[in-house]
Symmetry: C2
DNA sequence: TCCCATCGTTCGTCTTGACGAACAGTCTGC
DNA sequence: GCAGACTGTTCGTCAAGACGAACGATGGGA
């Protein structure tokens, strides 16, 4: 659900931040967006509850996607060495999932590395509606995809499939490793 | 910039689609979101220019992120076999980039596979402000990151760094392959 | 120093979105 | 057949957002 904090404060901060980044004055931005600068002034001060059209016009004028204005940013350089990072192990299915990058608000794609060993498949219940999974095989071979139409993949192969239906993932060789990008829509 | 079509039409469609998916009646959703059902009715019919607070309340009541309402969805199952897919080759820097999944509107993370060979580094000019790059090494070793603080990575290593400053990527071994997720913010 | 430009703010006015009541239509069960 | 609960619609009213003018503040340039 991306953000919890009051959206108006987030918008206020986003507007000022993006305007600074673009190097535009308040007056100039208001002119480009075709809105009154008084309106923009109030928005940046946190008062006011803009309409979609107003916010849209500002997004266009700033050259920034709409959602950038309602959800804030994050990071810097970071390395997670192989084997490090928060990982979830499962004895049952012989796999380990490591979360590399969680979903910053508004981005909605989590990045995992899955280390899988042959054995019982890792069957997943459907995730939240709209979820999409992307897999890229690094090493080994896997059988993955929707439970009713799994696909066999080798190194370098890429697969995308809906994550909101039952799906499966099982290693066919030892030392199998795949990159999983989970898209939350 | 995600979407071009009139935002109000997109919102109208999104609202109805998400409400259907949630199995809620118009009246019920209006009650849960704490808005008048007349307001919701007008929004779904395409007339009306909702305020951020109104749209926010609807997003919360529907259990979907805000941006889901202003940008639409896409896909199904798809496989790109190793070596297939639209790829960009560079003789100069001995690498090939394959686009696996472009950025559906509002998602903002593109997924690539980079096949790199030792040689002159692949230096990149800064991308659009706010861009972030994620790399996961599948095979071989690479030296990558911001040009002023590159990091050496081996198989399974994960690196995230700003893409809006000059950065580099060079293979240290032959047959190097890395997964690159480019986050457009 | 004066002038002019631009900065971002604060006013009063007017348009417009949000509200709630009343509406017609459908389905269930007594 | 009719009461009841429900669907989603269309009204009139009122508060709130968007507008434009005027404001004081700041920074050059002649």
């Amino acid at each position: 659900m991306s953000n919890t904090g009051a959206p108006l404060d987030v918008i206020a901060a986003s507007l000022r931040r993006e305007r600074d980044r673009a190097g535009l004055s308040l007056s100039e931005l208001a002119k480009r967006a075709g809105i009154a600068k008084s309106t923009l002034s109030q928005l940046e001060s946190g008062s006011g509850n803009p309409s979609v059209e107003t916010l849209w016009a500002l997004g266009v004028a700033l050259g920034v996607p709409f959602s950038r204005l309602v959800d804030p940013p994050t990071p810097r350089v970071r390395v997670i060495r192989a084997g490090e990072g928060p990982s979830i192990h499962s004895e049952r299915a012989h796999y380990a999932a490591t979360l590399l990058a969680s979903c910053p608000p508004g981005v909605r794609r989590d990045i995992y590395v899955l280390d899988v060993e042959p054995g019982s498949p890792r069957d997943s219940e459907p995730h939240m509606a709209g979820t999409v999974e992307h897999m890229i095989v690094s090493r080994g071979r896997v059988l993955a995809g929707p439970s009713d139409e799994p696909v066999e993949l080798g190194p370098g192969d890429y697969l995308v499939f809906p994550g909101d239906v039952p799906h499966t993932c099982s290693a066919l060789t030892t030392g199998t490793s795949v990159v999983l990008v989970m898209e939350h829509v």
